[in-house]
């Protein structure tokens, strides 16, 4: 399980996967995200928490440039992935998103078979040279998403026929199959029942061994359960960032404390 011997001070520069400096986001005239600075570590689960509309999802969507698809959004500042500015003019967002995968709030399987859903990413990015390799990727990803045993006999059935929790794990498998380095999850459990939520949380804990996972969540309990680092956002500001245990037990900022104790949000 989690390597508890590693402490905050022991994190070396190499472990930083994503570093954001002075990130500002505007939706038209609205200043949605103000001056965010944060370093996100590799092979760690980082949780973004905060009341709705605080900018946590906005920031998440900046990390793989999904905000590009919204006409009125503009992003300023600098986000580096492995030291490379992802908003550099030379960066192709398509290539970036292959490295930084995303799982969305609502399960959104494509109206294709389970197999084709998972194989979609490897196909467009050319990760397999033949059918056997593709089969291998699909199986590995479905196992990785703890779904293989449930679906291995019906890979040709449509992904939309699965239950909500299965659909979300399928979406995770789909993202994992693309072999990303970072996995972004935008409230992945908000549409799921408690049992499915438990399965997905367990999965997130396993995914940490391969990826840097960033999860946006509404639920403080969930953040406490799955994450090692937590960032608290409020009204577009990154208020506090630190080890999850510290944030929940001895918050530095009065706003963080108010949120955690249930007075705002």
């Amino acid at each position: 399980m989690y390597d508890t011997t590693r402490t905050e001070s022991a994190v070396s520069q190499q472990d930083i996967k994503i570093s954001a400096r002075n990130v500002q986001v505007y939706y038209g005239d609205k200043h949605a995200l103000k001056d965010v600075n944060v370093d996100i570590q590799d092979k760690t689960v980082t949780a973004f928490i905060g009341p709705s509309g605080c900018g946590k999802s906005t920031f998440l969507r900046c990390i793989n440039r999904m905000n590009d698809t919204i006409d009125i959004a503009s992003v300023k500042g600098e986000i580096r992935l492995d030291g490379e500015d992802i908003y550099d003019r030379r960066v192709d967002p398509v290539q970036l998103r292959a490295k930084v995968g995303m799982v969305f709030q609502k399960p959104n399987p494509f109206p294709k078979s389970i197999y084709d859903n998972v194989a979609y990413g490897p196909r467009i990015h050319g990760l397999s040279r033949n059918k056997a390799e593709l089969d291998e990727i699909v199986e590995k990803s479905l196992r990785g998403a703890a779904l293989w045993n449930e679906v291995k006999d019906r890979l040709a059935e449509p992904g939309t026929g699965l239950s909500g929790g299965q659909q979300q794990r399928l979406c995770i498998a789909r993202a994992v199959a693309t072999a990303p380095e970072v996995l972004l999850m935008d409230e992945p459990c908000s549409a799921l029942d408690p049992i499915a939520t438990g399965q997905v949380e367990e999965l997130i804990d396993q995914l940490r061994e391969q990826f840097s996972v960033v999860i946006v969540t509404h639920s403080m309990q969930q953040a406490a359960r799955v994450s090692q680092k937590t960032a608290f956002f409020h009204l577009g500001n990154l208020v506090e960032y630190g080890a999850t245990d510290d944030i929940f037990t001895k918050p530095q900022d009065s706003r963080t404390e108010a949120y955690i104790s249930g007075r705002i949000g």
Partner: protein, 401 residues
């Protein structure tokens, strides 16, 4: 026109009834008009309607009877008098009904509701009218002309002196050939146009291009027909058909198909636009989030998801093309030929309906009646296409609602 006088008189009676009813209501309420169940205007209306409706019914029945020859023209005056009498009696009954407790509003609303129901059955009546008139006259046609010769005949040569050959196959072939070319033009252009406008274009391009395409939809088909006849036909003949030795006729399958294709572009594009927009954004996000390019997202996720809807739209467009008349009348020609050459003049079901039913018609000859059989064929084909398309589109919408 005694009926129009009767109509005016009944209207005047109704107006008078309204005034009388209203004042009677006030009078019966005494000092306090709040004791009335309904507002005085409703009392007035109930009297007016009671006077007007029986009169109108009698007049309409009388007019129908005269049209169908059950009544002579002189009987019109009698009908008018009868109607007027009914109006007076209705007025009397209406006025006598008035008292403080009379539920005039409910009575009026019942009548209005009846009118609303009547209006909504007119659509059904229209369909029935279409089916009955087509089936009846087609029956007449088949009593004079062998149905096998109609459905399997490969020649369509009507002759006034009789002994015509009236096979539907060459017309069906021309219709389908032209529609096929039209769809070949309209579907790619309309679909790509809709994709571009809904997935790529900025708000400025969209606000410019969309109205232009809508203008294309608002142009009457006769304009497209003239365009085919005067401009496109001669152009195709001089530029392609004659140099290649494919024919020397300005009217051709290609002319009509091309112009009809242009006409169908806005139809296809607005239907596809609706359908593409119904695909949830979350699917696009899912694909983009995995690192697919927008075109990969469209080709591999949006279009497959929208496919049933698009198939429905294409079927609707096909039904439009098959039923289109003016473009083929002016652009396709009049000779019924079975040929593969798209630069040859061919003709369609609709063209022959027009040519057999314009001018002096003799409704006992098969040459005229064949138009009804053609009409029935056309109606059945387009109806099937429409029903299938509507079912597909409806299923598709439910899937994403």
């Amino acid at each position: 026109m005694p009926l129009s006088w009767a109509l005016l008189a009944s209207l005047a009676l109704a107006a008078a009834g309204y005034m009388v009813g209203r004042s009677r209501a006030f009078a019966s309420a005494g000092a306090d008009s709040r004791t009335l169940h309904s507002r005085p205007t409703y009392h007035g209306m109930s009297v007016a309607l009671l006077a007007l409706i029986p009169a109108l019914v009698i007049m309409v029945l009388g007019a129908l009877a005269r049209m169908t020859g059950l009544l002579s023209a002189e009987a019109g005056g009698v009908v008018g008098l009868l109607a007027l009498g009914a109006a007076v009696i209705g007025l009397g009954i209406g006025v006598s009904r008035i008292n403080a407790g009379f539920m005039a509003r409910n009575a009026v609303e019942k009548i209005v509701l009846g009118f609303l129901i009547f209006c909504s059955t007119i659509a059904i009546a229209t369909t029935l009218g279409i089916i009955l008139s087509l089936v009846f006259e087609t029956g007449n046609f088949f009593s004079q002309y062998d149905w096998r010769a109609f459905f399997f005949g490969t020649e369509f040569v009507p002759r006034f002196e009789g002994n015509s050959r009236l096979g539907v196959l060459p017309l069906l072939w021309g219709t389908l050939y032209i529609s096929f070319i039209a769809l070949l033009v309209a579907v790619p252009i309309g679909l790509f146009g809709a994709i571009y406008l809904s997935e790529y274009a900025g708000p400025r391009t969209r606000s410019l291009a969309k109205p232009v395409i809508e203008v294309l939809a608002g142009i009457p088909t006769i304009v497209y027909g003239l365009f085919a006849l005067v401009t496109v036909g001669p152009m195709l003949r001089d530029a392609i058909a004659q140099p290649l030795g494919l024919g020397s006729s300005a009217s051709s399958v290609m002319t009509a198909g091309l112009v009809m294709g242009i006409m169908l572009i806005p139809f296809v594009s607005s239907l596809s636009d609706d359908i593409i927009n119904a695909v949830p954004q979350s699917l696009r996000d899912g694909a983009l989030g995995l690192g697919s390019t927008p075109s990969e997202t469209i080709k591999q996720v949006v279009l497959p998801a929208a496919l049933p809807g698009i198939v429905g739209a294409v079927l609707l467009a096909a039904s439009r093309a098959i039923g289109e008349t003016m473009i083929v009348v002016l652009g396709a020609g009049a000779a019924a030929t079975l040929s593969l050459n798209p630069f040859e003049a061919m003709t369609t079901i609709t063209v022959k309906i027009v040519s057999q039913l314009t001018g002096d018609n003799d409704f006992s000859s098969p040459e005229t009646l064949v138009a009804f059989a053609l009409g029935l064929t056309l109606f059945v084909i387009t109806l099937c296409l429409n029903i299938v398309a509507l079912i597909i589109v409806r299923k598709y919408r439910e899937q994403y609602e």
